[in-house]
Amino acid sequence: MLELQVEISFPGFTLSVSETWPAKGSVALFGPSGAGKSTLLRIIAGLERSAAGQVRFNGTCWQDSHTRTFIPPPQRRAVLVFQDSRLFPHLNVIRNLHYGMTRRRGQEGPDWEHVISSFQLHDLLDRRTESLSGGEKQRVALGRALLAAPRLLLLDEPMSALDTDRRDQLLPELARLCDQFAIPVICVTHSELELRELGAEAMKMVQGKIVSRAWQDRTQQDTTGPAKSLGDVSEHGVWLAARFVGIAQGGLVECQLGDETVFARRSTGSCTIAEKPGSQIRVGFDPRAVVLARDPPSGVFSYGRIKANLISVDESRGQQGQLLCLSVNGELFTMEMSGDVLRPSLPTVGEPLYLILSQPAVTNGIAETGGAD
């Protein structure tokens, strides 16, 4: 059991998280950049001494600002794999991999041969770290972390530097190793694939808080609550990547999201859209102005539709409604649906759902840089 009750403030940012997670299986954190996901991992790993509150793991107090308890990282063995891999530049690959392994202090963990073959590290062993590609570095960093026999594995977008083929091979291996050695995983990710492969429970973080969770067998009382209002698109709406198609009649922007078409109006103050079909744009919509359909609907007059996959349903909210965690082209988001609407037949996890827009979506113009999350 990982019990977190932590707060940390930096200029212009406050993180406040109160959660209890089981110390088995995986938890995935997703949400816009700057939401504090990496900071939360750093607190758990023991790299943020100034965090206020408490961190407890399986009954052991790791950090408590009241009693001034602070267990440093080596004793926690909560091994964090950083996004920028952080291999030691003065050691070659094999000595990087040995680093954690020689400091296990009797802790049982994955064995050498296993990790080397799982992460396909044979050919890299004698290389210098600076000659590795981004994906190779990340594989070495993952191997190094597992060889350190972690009690808890913290992954900060571990697969972002890997190409799709490698990812498809490595994820099941990582999941299997963690399962075999009962290593719980907390993973920051934006990818539905990673979520599914790790069998993770998804948590959304926004502005330093966990705002929603798709906790399937959740018995705990919800303390932080869901996002209360999802009204304003600019603040609470769902933003997704789309492609610019053209300007439709009436000045609406025609966008393509996967195989589906969506019409969007330009948000005030947005930059001018370069009228080039195929450019990347971000479109946002208000989840309250959405009707759900199970099959591709026909003969519906709407502002378009979006095809999404249902990742999980949070049933803990009972009367108030259900929190659906959905994915479109690998981008995750949550939306609340009234229980009355869903009662007749609850959609099942893994099922494709169509989101029909009763209001135009919003676009803020060309946003190769990511746009407003």
């Binding site: 790993a45 023991g46 790299l47 440093p72 990282p73 080596p74 063995r77 909560a78 091994v79 964090l80 950083f82 920028d84 952080r86 291999l87 030691f88 530049p89 003065h90 680093y99 954690g100 400091r103 296990r104 202090r105 600076e130 190094r144 972390a145 350190a148």
Partner: protein, 232 residues
């Protein structure tokens, strides 16, 4: 001519200087490595005071420095008395005395490059080592020190070179005793005073070449390394 030749072959000051610089470098590194590491990692409020104290020799006239050391070395003061009891000799006008003076006076030339190189080792690698199970001392030995090895070289070379060039403090604390406290710089001073220009020339030129070659070696090593880094 004969007397001149005799003075020319008297290399005792060179021996004293080399012995002094070598011992000073060893003592300096032993003191400076932990001190520089502490300065590089501490958030303590007394850090600026320690830094200012360490940097004092950079700005203080050697005479001021030497004057206070002489007072401290006086057997009527605790330090001087302690030394006299331990070794049976006074610190003032002895080789041990000029060694202490040289070490203290060269401290910033060794501490600062070490501190800089420790600070330049990224926080990233240190955090990675910590989560992988390394304790602070272990991190220092396995990550910080290897990544800061250029700083060690710079510090040792500067410490040695600066000890060779020491003059004012040694003259104040050690006097000018042949084969004991007369180092090259004082030897040159004495030669000029006694109008022995040939000897002054020889010693000065030797010191000049030594200083230039030392610095050139240091810069060549640094140039070579940064050039290799730039290639990536």
């Amino acid at each position: 001519m004969d007397t001149n030749w005799l003075t020319m072959t008297d290399l005792s000051s060179v021996v004293v200087t080399l012995k002094l610089a070598a011992s000073a470098t060893v003592v300096l590194m032993v003191i400076s490595i932990p001190l520089a590491w502490w300065l590089a990692v501490t958030h303590s409020r007394i850090k600026p005071f320690v830094e200012a104290l360490t940097a004092l020799p950079l700005v203080l006239p050697p005479t001021v420095f030497g004057f206070y050391l002489l007072i401290l070395f006086n057997p009527q003061f605790p330090i001087g008395a302690f030394w006299l009891r331990m070794s049976g000799d006074t610190l003032a006008f002895s080789f041990s005395g000029i060694l202490v003076a040289t070490v203290l006076h060269s401290l910033p030339f060794v501490v600062q490059p070490l501190q800089n190189s420790f600070e330049n080792v990224g926080k990233g690698e240190i955090e990675a080592a910590a989560v992988l199970g390394a304790h602070p001392l272990d991190i220092f030995a396995s990550v910080t020190a290897p990544l800061a090895k250029r700083g060690f070289l710079t510090a040792a070379v500067l410490g040695f070179a600066h000890s060779v060039g020491e003059f004012g403090v040694i003259l104040m604390v050690g006097g000018n005793i042949p084969e004991r406290t007369r180092v090259i710089s004082i030897d040159i001073y004495t030669s000029v005073e006694t109008l022995d220009y040939a000897r002054a020339h020889l010693l000065s030129l030797g010191t000049l070449i030594f200083a230039f070659v030392t610095l050139l070696t240091l810069y060549l090593i640094n140039f070579g390394r940064s050039g290799r880094n730039r290639a990536f």
